[in-house]
């Protein structure tokens, strides 16, 4: 455990030294400031437009959409960040030759791999939690937007990002960095498509389409996890609106996640991590 933590510390230090953390904080702040400014303008104009009950509901839906979009972007960014962090976690170290000297020490490969995963997982968890909380705080302060259950939403968003992180870590144990990037981004996009396919299947009452979407979502659950997370941050008015429409939008869900999805979201990354440890241990360096 001590050595796993030592590698985790080294990985965090690398993220600092290579300015990933400081620059990351800076651009995240810029994003939040721009979001707050946009929110403020929209809120002002919206308030002026309210003349009756109907317009009040429409403005409410507009502000909720802006909040949810803000969170959706955080979700997308956390996915990219997860993939970029770990896409070369092993492969790039092998190529540059830094790994050989480190692993020539009394250090198990599993300790190295888990140390790296731990550091990345920490960064991702902090990123998602802080950014999602701040988006919701801005919405609440500027627009009195009330998200029903932010902790659950953030938890599911973290699981989505951890899945992507572990997927690309596994890929980096046996694929070149570039190939791994191509594979992971394709799977990422496929996961996103699964949401669209499912919603379309729902609207068409097309069982084949629905089961295709569900299958993809099991293999690549990142988008499914996000949509479930969105359920917990939709205000009562927007949930009511999407229910009257009879179908969810592709990026939002109008029902809470199943227990299966939550368990799968927790166990699947662990299974991927176990596979990564196994594959890495077999490899010649």
């Amino acid at each position: 455990m001590r050595k796993t933590l030592r590698i985790a510390r080294l990985t965090l230090k690398e993220a600092m030294s290579r300015r990933l953390i400081p620059v990351g904080i800076l651009v995240s702040l810029i994003y939040l400031v721009l979001f707050a400014v946009a929110y403020n303008f929209a809120q002002d104009r919206g308030a002026q437009a309210i003349t009756g009950q109907r317009s009040r509901v429409l403005v409410g839906i507009g502000m909720a959409s802006l909040t949810l979009s803000g969170l959706y972007i955080v979700n997308l960014l956390s996915g990219f960040l997860a993939l970029f962090l770990s896409v070369g976690a092993i492969s790039a170290e092998v190529d540059s030759g830094t790994l050989q000297a480190v692993l020539a020490r009394p250090l198990r490969r599993s300790q190295f791999l888990l140390g790296r995963w731990l550091a990345y997982a920490l960064m991702i968890t902090v990123y998602v939690s802080v950014m999602a909380s701040l988006v919701l705080v801005i919405a609440s302060l500027l627009g009195n937007y009330v998200a029903p259950d932010p902790p659950r939403a953030i938890g599911l968003m973290v699981l989505a990002a951890l899945f992507l992180l572990t997927l690309s870590l596994l890929g980096s144990t046996f694929l070149s960095t570039m190939t791994n990037g191509a594979v992971c981004f394709t799977l990422f996009a496929l996961g996103w498509l699964s949401g669209v396919i499912e919603v379309l299947g729902d609207v068409q009452k097309n069982d084949a389409l629905v089961s295709l979407g569900t299958t993809i979502a099991i293999l690549v659950p990142a988008d499914q996890l996000w949509r479930s997370a969105s359920y917990y941050v939709q205000s009562a008015s927007i949930l009511a609106a999407s229910n009257t429409l009879g179908a969810a939008m592709p990026i939002l869900a109008n029902a809470p996640p199943t227990t299966f999805l939550v368990l799968w979201g927790m166990l699947y990354p662990l299974a991927l991590l176990g596979s990564a440890v196994y594959v890495f241990a077999q490899r010649d360096l």
């Binding site: 230090k13 030759g97 692993l103 020539a104 250090l107 010649d284 360096l285």
Partner: protein
Amino acid sequence: MRPNAAPAIEITSLNKVYGRTTALHELNLVVQPGEVFGFLGPNGAGKTTTVKILLGLVRPTGGEARIFGLPCTDPSARRLVGYLPENFRFQEWLTGTELLELHADLADMSSAERALRIPEVLRLVGLEDRASERIRTYSKGMLQRIGLAQAIVHNPQLVLLDEPTSALDPIGRREVRDLIRSLSARGMTVFLNSHLLSEVEMVCDRVAIIDRGRVVQSGRMDDLVGGEPELSISLDHVDTDALRLLLQFGEVLAYDAATVRLGVADTSVAAVIADVLPRAGYRVYTLVPVQRSLEDVFISLVERGEP
């Protein structure tokens, strides 16, 4: 069992196959504690593969490799070993001191030991002034020095150096040779992978020459390069009478129209030969004792041409 009662390195019937390529074939090798051992061979002969197997970085297809009696797959064997990889690169965003901290920590040195040892090693490799700078600012020679420093920072009993002087200028090479000698004087076993034969000749006690994954020769350096003393004689012409005359003094190893290589019991017969040949009507241009160099041995053993 005390670890240093066993050979420093013991390799038995080691095989490694990559796809269709045989990198190592039934390799056997023993290095005793305290030796400076040279592992020679042309590029692609299997030197680096052997070292990587010893460090558990590569899994052998068959056979066994032990370090001080411990199987090389056991991480605790690596506590006793320091390694300078060929074409190594280190985390260039660390400073020299931080790199040594990392490696000493991973090698299980306590922080008190590290605080004493790291400045000492930095002095030893002459980097004490640049230790707080990031490695990305280092020159090639400095990189090689910090590489050597990380290999010996934890006072290992065995150091595996893969081409340690290839990036260095003549002065740097000499310093590395001196360092190897001083490590050896302190009882450290040094395993030196190299194709720079003159380097090996200057520091090693024993060598093994490897070609296409097999050991083709091994032995004490003195036995390999010493051998029979030889004289190289160049004359105005060489005929059967000249050869007959020279046979009285030793064995004719090779000859052509104007030179003879003569194996002798003692090179002091040169003075007699210098007297006898002119009297028999030959003009002698040169008469020099020749010592077989490691290069001669190497070239005669290692087949040329592509496999």
